[in-house]
């Protein structure tokens, strides 16, 4: 079966002041798959996610999602557009003045006309889906790092978006929680029958969940393929990164 494209970065360049983040970057996101973007810290991986949901606009090039060139949308149209995309932040970005239930219910309360008991059922089911049943009434500050990340996942998927973006979902967590979160991402993608883009440099979890991997280096995608293809790559930059070696073309320091 032919693979369909869900989103595409087309020759995108973006700078923040003097710092060039992306330079003629092109990346295709295949539908119904998990694409992981790997790269050095500060390489611009999170910026790719923010381009895909319109939180950043490219200086040049096009960002196409669901056949819409989102760089042409007005700020107000962008706000509506983002409802179709889930976004899980690196530090979850839960609203600290709201309970976990209120955090996850917020998109439903604002975007749908569901009754309160239906909202309650959906929030409960989303929390169960990420293995967090029973924490509805707790405040974000009362949860551990792994629990906060999972609550962030639940909020990202509560409106059943067909595209979910995960920013560093496992960074800084122990191996058991990392495995749990990786499994959760796989399960959520299957449940939503959708597409996920995961930015990470946690190679173990990428090998476990990725259908496709793209490596970002110096503002461009320098390698793309399945996990197997990438591991066999002859590109010395890819090999140095995957092996975590100090010796190679990637400058260390």
């Amino acid at each position: 079966m032919a693979k369909r494209l869900l989103a595409k970065l087309e020759d995108v360049s973006l700078s923040f002041g003097e710092k060039i983040v992306l330079q003629h970057c092109t990346l295709e996101i295949i539908e119904d798959a998990i694409t992981c973007v790997i790269g050095l810290s500060g390489a611009g991986k999170s910026t790719i996610l923010r381009l895909l949901n319109g939180l950043r606009k490219p200086d040049s090039g096009r960002v196409i999602v669901h056949d819409v060139d989102i760089s042409t949308l007005s700020p107000r149209d962008l706000i509506d557009f983002r409802r179709s995309i889930g976004f899980s932040f690196q530090f979850a970005a839960l609203f600290d003045s709201l309970t976990i239930f209120e955090n996850i219910a917020l998109p439903l309360r604002e975007h749908t006309r569901l009754k309160e008991d239906e909202i309650r059922t959906q929030v409960h089911s989303a929390l169960e889906g990420v293995g967090l049943a029973g924490v509805e009434d707790r405040m974000p500050a009362e949860l551990s790092g792994g629990m906060i990340k999972r609550a962030g996942f639940a909020r990202a998927i509560i409106t059943s978006p067909k595209l979910v973006l995960y920013d560093e979902p496992t960074t800084g967590l122990d191996p058991i929680i990392t495995h749990l979160l990786t499994e959760t991402i796989i399960r959520l993608r299957e449940r939503l029958k959708g597409t996920a883009v995961v930015v990470s440099h946690d190679l173990e979890s990428i090998y476990h969940m990725a259908d496709y991997v793209a490596m970002l280096f110096e503002g461009a995608i320098i390698a793309y393929g399945t996990v197997g293809e990438l591991r066999k790559s002859y590109n010395p930059i890819v090999q140095q990164f995957l092996q975590g070696s100090e010796v190679g073309p990637i400058p260390v320091g």
Binding site: Q90, A93, L106, P107, H111
Partner: protein
């Protein structure tokens, strides 16, 4: 040449700031015009920004009324103008000091709270999270605070004016033995229109406090230090603007 470069940069920065605040206010007005207002959040903000400020407003107003009375009562009695002390305190309070001092106090308390809260939300990506959920930060964060303070600041000012006049009345009695009824008779010379005009100014001050606080909060960069910087900036800018607009509005409303 460096001086010209700095002056140019400052000028551009100034217009960017004014443009940014105006754009944010335009966006907030757009949502208010469409009645896209979150009732519970607005009520909560009215409580947090308004009701929680009443003690500090009470103390400021009480001592301000008292000091005007202290300065004027003894002199007035000495020169035989004791019948005017009540109206001096009431006029000063209703037209100028009530609206302005209440606004300055609220800018220090509520304006700082707004900038600090929104600044913290920016650095912890909560504002970006709102946008990512397809929610407008203006509608969710600015509009409730704007409506809340536009309602609460005039109410706090009425409260402050009553307290200031009572404070003035006690001091006039204590220092110059001006009886309460003659103080109040004199105070009644203040026209109702003066009260309304004074309260009208507080609506403008409320808009200044919220718009500067929210704009400054949204511009926050660089973690905890950035939040502190935004908060200080919000308070200082709002207070300067309150003084500036107070002069301009008094000039227009009460005549030059």
């Amino acid at each position: 040449m460096r001086i010209f470069e700095d002056a140019g940069r400052e000028t551009i920065g100034f217009f960017e700031y004014v443009g940014g605040v105006a754009e944010l206010l335009g966006d907030a007005t757009h949502f208010i015009g469409r009645f896209a207002v979150r009732g519970k959040e607005t009520f909560d903000q009215a409580y947090l920004l308004g009701v929680n400020s009443w003690t500090i407003v009470l103390l400021t107003a009480l001592f301000t009324g008292a000091v005007i009375s202290l300065e004027s009562a003894v002199q007035a009695v000495r020169y035989g103008f004791s019948a005017f002390v009540g109206s001096a305190v009431a006029y000063g309070t209703v037209r100028e000091l009530g609206p302005m001092l209440t606004a300055v106090v609220v800018a220090g308390r509520a304006g700082a709270a707004i900038a600090a809260e929104l600044g913290s939300m920016v650095v912890t990506e909560q504002v970006e999270a709102l946008e990512a959920l397809g929610l407008s930060p203006t509608r969710m964060l600015v509009v409730p605070r704007l409506i809340a303070l536009v309602i609460m600041l005039p109410l706090l000012t009425i409260f402050a004016e009553i307290v200031a006049i009572i404070g003035g009345m006690w001091v006039a009695y204590g220092t110059a033995h001006i009886p309460f009824d003659s103080f109040l008779d004199s105070a009644r010379q203040v026209e109702f229109l003066d009260v309304i005009k004074g309260l009208g100014k507080t609506v403008v001050f409320a808009i200044i406090i919220v718009m500067i606080g929210t704009y400054q909060g949204f511009r926050t960069t660089g973690g905890a230090a950035g939040v502190g910087k935004s908060t200080t900036s919000a308070v200082v800018t709002a207070i300067i603007l309150i003084f500036l607009f107070n002069f301009m509005l008094s000039f227009v409303l009460f005549g030059g």
